[in-house]
């Protein structure tokens, strides 16, 4: 690959890595996995750099790889990751044992399907519209709506339960 391509690619990575990493971390729910996911996406982009040609195409391409790859990643990892309907760490009574909200919500997010997680990240972190989210995921707007509703309902159910427990426990 010619040196000027490397220079172009390096400039792209320098400029966009932070934003892309933030998306990757939220999609995977883990910083290390996010780095792995972004690195995989960047290698693919590098291999296709001569076809991408323009930074706007490259970023769209990498974002697309991140979103589609995380779903297949999580499917492959399903065998060793334990998704459960219940939040595994239930808070117990006593102020010192209260599980912080972000931990509870983070655990609840991990129980969602990869598609639901991606939809929520795109809608509420990237602030994409339903249509833009559908376009990025390659699905219908109706699917985005239903995935969003189901994801939020599941979070309310899981997080709400723990809040109720906490209240019942006297916190």
């Amino acid at each position: 690959m010619p040196a000027d391509w490397d220079a172009d690619f390096a400039a792209f990575v320098q400029a966009r890595s932070a934003a892309l990493l933030r998306l990757a971390v939220l999609l995977t729910g883990d910083r290390r996995d996010g780095e792995d996911l972004l690195q995989t996406a960047l290698v693919k982009a590098y291999q296709s750099w001569w076809r991408l040609r323009r930074p706007d195409r490259a970023e769209a391409y990498v974002r697309r790889i991140l979103v589609t790859s995380v779903i297949s990643w999580r499917r492959r990892r399903a065998a060793r990751e334990w998704a459960t309907e219940q939040v595994p760490d239930q808070p117990v009574a006593g102020p010192s044992a209260v599980v912080p909200d972000r931990v509870v919500l983070g655990q609840a997010l991990r129980t969602l399907s990869p598609g639901q997680r991606a939809v929520l990240v795109l809608r509420f972190y990237e602030d994409l519209s339903e249509r833009q989210t559908a376009e990025l995921l390659g699905c219908s707007v109706g699917t985005v709506k239903s995935q969003t509703a189901r994801g939020l309902a599941a979070l309310r159910r899981l997080v709400g339960t723990t809040e109720d427990d906490r209240v019942a426990g006297g916190t």
Binding site: M1, P2, D4, W5, D6, D8, F9, A10, V13, Q14, S17, A18, L21, R22, V25, L26, R31, E35, L38, Q39, L42, V43, K44, Y46, Q47, S48, W50, R51, L52, R53, R54, D56, R57, A60, Y61, R63, R64, I65, T68, D101, R102, L105, G106, L109, L120, V121, F124, Y125, L128, Q132, E135, L136, L137, G138, L152, L155, R156, V159
Partner: protein, 383 residues
């Protein structure tokens, strides 16, 4: 809950440090490429890939295996070196020669069939924004221009511009929206061009251009959104077939009504499509699939080679013309070798001595093959 979610995302990213991924990415990207480009390694890698594909990669049930390399069914007529010209984004055989496109160099180049000499070298756009794809048909060479997003009609003998067709993406790009033209092919008397645009490559459209008027006569939307690398197209009187890059389906459209006729799963994005009568062939991940009417299922498969991976020994980037229909019910495919496939029996034979091939193009009894190390061969096809 929405607000809590937003707050949670902000918390999750607090203090996030961005590691320097560039060295690892470049190393991974270079690794495979260097292996192939090492002169002494090319033959060994190709031979190993062929051996592995023949001995170990047994096809799935009902799929014939790739045969051992056979005696050549081709005769080399000319050999033209393109050392240092870079990746070839498209190739199109024309009467009396072949044209090659380099998007990265921003050039079109013509090789003469009679002498094997380069007889034209035309600048298009600029480095990185040159010609995307080229195709021959209706007496002209057709090219999608990565700089202007136009479709250009050129004289196939000289490269002289005959007409410019402004596409939908031309106007979009001029207004600052991400948009680009992609593949081009000629079939059923029309020129077909793919376009994508919008936020993050959000839509695809196919432009149907009448070569009698150089005007767009149809602009059907292509369902799905699979990436921004573009769409592979093949066209014949029976149908127009499209495969958005990364999309695991080949969709068939009625060339007259532009309505969707069927969609056949091929498992991965196609590296190449080739129309052969009422059938279409798709090369995806080293496997060739035949799709028959009504184009809703794969009718036959043959595995030519293992999928090309960025970091594996068979690392290779195929060009935009990786599959071509030849005479006498044959197909020709690019890959770790040059492959000849019999349409009827689904028997595939690697043709030895060329090494990894990026692009193939057929016109009449002549096959042009561009190898990964930058050589263009003109081959006479024999029975």
């Amino acid at each position: 809950m929405e607000d809590r979610l937003r707050e949670h995302y902000r918390d999750e990213l607090a203090g996030l440090e961005v590691p320097d991924l560039l060295p690892a990415v470049l190393a991974a990207g270079h690794r495979g490429r260097r292996r192939l480009l090492a002169k002494a390694g090319i033959a060994a890698v190709a031979a190993a890939a062929i051996t592995v594909s023949v001995i170990f990669l047994r096809p799935a049930i009902g799929q014939p295996a790739v045969d051992q390399p056979a005696s050549r069914s081709v005769t080399v007529l000319t050999r033209t070196g393109l050392s240092g010209w870079g990746p070839v984004s498209g190739m199109a055989a024309v009467p009396g020669g072949v044209w090659l496109a380099s998007s990265t160099r921003g050039e079109l180049l013509r090789v003469d069939a009679g002498t094997g000499q380069i007889t034209a070298r035309l600048p298009v756009g600029g480095p990185g924004t040159g010609p995307i794809a080229i195709a021959y048909g209706a007496g002209s060479l057709w090219m999608t221009d990565g700089h202007t997003n136009d479709l250009l009609r050129l004289d196939p003998a000289t490269g002289r511009l005959r007409a410019t067709v402004h596409l939908y993406t031309t106007a979009l790009a001029a207004r600052g929206f991400p948009a680009a033209t992609g593949a081009v092919t000629v079939g059923d008397g029309f020129v077909w061009v793919s376009q994508w645009g919008g936020v993050a490559g959000t839509w695809y459209r196919l432009a149907k251009v009448n070569p009698a008027t150089d005007r767009i006569t149809g602009l059907p939307a292509i369902p799905g959104d699979f990436g921004t690398d573009g769409v592979t197209i093949a066209a014949d009187a029976a149908a127009v077939w499209v495969n958005p890059d990364g999309g695991p389906f080949v969709q068939a459209l009625n060339p007259a009504s532009l309505r969707l006729l069927g969609a056949a799963p091929i498992g991965a994005g196609a590296d190449g499509l080739a129309a052969a009568g009422r059938n279409v062939w798709a090369l995806a991940g080293g496997t060739l699939s035949r799709i028959d009417p009504p184009w809703s299922a794969v009718a036959g498969r043959v595995r030519l080679y293992a999928p090309l991976h960025a970091n594996a020994a068979n690392s290779q980037i195929l060009g935009g013309q990786a599959l071509a229909a030849g005479p006498a019910h044959t197909l020709w495919a690019a890959g770790p070798a040059l492959y000849r496939i019999d349409e009827t029996s689904l028997r595939a034979r690697p043709v030895s001595d060329f090494g990894p091939v990026d692009n193939v193009s057929v016109l009449g009894q002549t096959l042009w093959a561009q190898t990964d190390d930058g050589v263009v061969y003109q081959l006479a096809l024999t029975a």
